[in-house]
Symmetry: D2
Subunit: 285 residues, 4 copies
């Protein structure tokens, strides 16, 4: 149990004493807080907290923590989650024909910095198979047509369940997932959009950026919701362009952005640093 930490992510209506109550719970059981971050949204009178403490020396076994904390959570009507830093989330990556984000994830995994295991790469094309298998990972091909979409999604869901997938990354997956599908992974699907949302939502943002003559382009990682390109934003970044950049140059420059922004968002999620707050996120960096 050396070096393993517990993380509480919680939100509730704001009231006096919340920091005291939560930190006291940990202190009473001999826990040592290593990170604590708190945010109060005045507009909504909501309280958000992330607290991380060492299990080493903590008086409760990890399986006892949930029930020990539940009464306080109930009293304050918290929405809350409990995580442990030694759990390795099981991730599925969805991809189509643009492979730079997938590449990037494969290399981060190879360097040991991903913080998750890629249990499956799922695609509506065969383009990525060789690369994925070369890294010793499993590749699943689900070609999607208008006709078979429902059926393919059902098959995908079955596979995801079988593989006990915790989390889905859409690494430039060019199919829209149905609302039905999304219900199974609420707040557990991240997409990378290749523009600085809300600018250039929809298709072909590179061309849109070129046509409008912007001097900066961006990329946006967000949780997926039924409203396309409108899910809670996790991370964004930008890069300068000029009149000299044709659509192909914009695309090339954007690829680096997309890789970095997706990786950053994924890291924040996997380190349990994000709380969703309506259509927005609270990110405890």
């Amino acid at each position: 149990m050396r070096n393993v930490n517990a993380i509480l992510l919680l939100s509730c209506a704001d009231s006096k004493g919340l920091v005291a109550k939560v930190s006291d719970f940990i202190f009473r059981h001999d826990g040592n807080i290593v990170h604590a971050d708190q945010y109060t949204s005045k507009a909504d009178k909501l309280f958000f907290m992330r607290v991380e403490w060492e299990l080493k020396g903590f008086a409760l076994q990890r399986e006892e923590i949930f029930s020990a904390f539940a009464p306080l959570a109930e009293q304050c009507k918290m929405k809350w989650d409990l995580h442990f830093t030694d759990y390795v989330p099981r991730v599925a990556v969805f991809v189509s024909k643009h492979l730079h984000c997938l590449h990037d994830l494969l290399l981060r995994r190879h360097m040991g910095e991903l913080g998750a295991e890629i249990e499956a790469v799922i695609s509506n094309h065969e383009d990525a198979r060789d690369l994925v298998e070369q890294f010793g990972l499993k590749y699943f091909y689900f070609p999607v047509t208008q006709k078979n979409k429902k059926q393919q999604e059902d098959s995908e869901l079955a596979l995801l369940e079988e593989l006990k997938i915790d989390f889905i990354v859409l690494a430039r997956y060019m199919q829209v997932l149905s609302g039905e599908f999304l219900k199974y992974y609420p707040g557990r699907i991240i997409n990378i959009h290749h523009s600085f949302l809300p600018a250039f939502a929809g298709s072909n943002p590179y061309q849109q950026a070129y046509d409008r003559g912007v001097k900066i382009i961006g990329a946006t990682a967000h949780y997926v919701t039924e409203q396309l390109d409108e899910g809670p934003i996790i991370a964004q970044d930008v890069i300068k362009i000029s009149h000299r950049d044709a659509v192909g140059d914009i695309q090339r420059k954007s690829r680096d952005l997309e890789r970095i922004v997706l990786a950053r968002a994924l890291r924040l999620h996997l380190e349990n640093k994000i709380l969703v707050h309506g259509s927005k996120t609270v990110v405890f960096e």
Copy 2:
């Protein structure tokens, strides 16, 4: 005539020999080119060039250059302008109640880095009068209502003509100028918009950015056209925000951005480094 340079800004249909012909024109008259920049838009088959050379040692008097270059310009059907670096453009600044951009321009002028003279500050409010007069500049108050707008614009135009204004800066001016007004200063009015256009066009972009939960905000300087917030973009920049930033914080952070972006755009314009290309700009930085 020491240290004065001439600048040619030109565009025309692309064809072979354009760089050679223009640089030969300068060489034949003993000119020394200090900057030359060229861009060919393949999509439109258009050629853009900016060339700057020293008048010192140049065989033509500055008043002879125009007519000497005209035949070549005509032959190639160029759109072109000729500028001299010792001319100090006469600028009018329009402002309403948010004074940070005006402030910034006043200080750059005071530091001698503006590259223009502010001949008038024009406002639909009295808020900026004291500050402007404190710096020894002229302030003109034109309150605008739905009823008197046409009449006030006519008075403003008369004033601008009387003051021989070359160029107008909308430094957070909260009135929309009529198409009629704009015709008198085509490509000679710069606006600073307090968002990363095309995101959050229209009113209250700070609130829009807050509501959408973006992680980065921006500012955009552009030439003013009849299509509000759609004129050719000159410069943009961005700054990071987080969930902790309330609308007031976004506003404060944006103020610094707006100052910097407006100043950068103005400098590029005043140094004759911009060519307008349809709804876009070619910026020779």
Copy 3:
């Protein structure tokens, strides 16, 4: 007492229960925490905390808080400070001949965003007098020579004491303050250095940057210590340059950076968001 908050800034050896004890102190007296931030430096086993709560509804009068908290502080051997958000710090700005940072501070004050009052502008030159007096502020001229330095510093210290100055900003002040002088304002003098420290420490960093051919320049705001340019860094920022930028261009670009970075550092200090940690800072943004 509406809308006034109390802020505790504290550091001590790390031990279990520190967050709980501090937040419990506030909760016991009916305080509502609006911000709490905590950081544990594992390397040094040090604990740092900033906690802000509303005085409205708090059971202690503001003058009682200090003595009520002192026992806990003593028990944990804390270094600590208590601040109130309605206190307007009294600032002295030192300046020489480069006035852009002073300008910027004057304008932020004029816009009401400074969060402090400028009680004196002190200079070893007369260059800034007109500007300062134009804004209705007091200007003090202390020409410094090798011979009179000690004596002038004594006079400055007497003036600062008379004016009850809390904090000093060196806004491009070109004199080195003596160790003697610094002792009177430990951790209460901010300097803006016109390079990305530790690169180009010492004199004429613009020229140094030009000579080295770097592609990015920076500015650094730091607390002043006896080791010149080695004090704890508060804020830094950078801007791109190219081979086209002569020393004068680097200087002009840097000016905007210096203004922004100094303003950011000053804001962080005035909002009591900084704890000094040896030669480094903990900044709770």
Copy 4:
């Protein structure tokens, strides 16, 4: 010969008519210039130019261009190079144990955006062998000790010559190449340094950055010269850090920077956009 361009990179003492003479040379032979960029260093009175034109329709065969241009080059005492855009440079990548930059290059090659062929990966360790061979590339292991260094460098040089290597990338290669070695590839070796040079030159810049408490870290790509970490800088970029970032976090954040900066520098070099100017670079972006 469709779509192939010729590129001239040249520098010489500044004099009148250089742009005219070069562009006239191209025009006289029916060439269509697609890019022309020029820079005059006033301090040194040196002229730098990059001009790119289409071979399609050009009156000279590509093998005739060199001798046709030589007289003008001689007359103006130019240093010059001629390149063609369809030549694929042959690159050797040197690497030790940190593989993120190598990874990145492998993926850019796999995506077809590298603009060069990686003919060899050379290392003083075996760590990268599997990865490199997995991508079907050749891996050469040259363990270096103090004793065998001269001999190993000789073997490396022989290999490089045999493979007709044009250009070397030090992708976090932890050995210092001898002056002897460097003579064989003057201006043809790029290194990525994991700091914002000249800050934190030498070893372990991550630790140095941590110890100094900077708020921004950087990476620098430069040509390698005998003076370690002092070669002409090609590209730099930075990322923000905070007190929360331990050395490991700085390392992780820096890795992304290093990948991007090295890739950018390599692209600029491979597109023949760089002229070395003493200890600095002229980069025609």
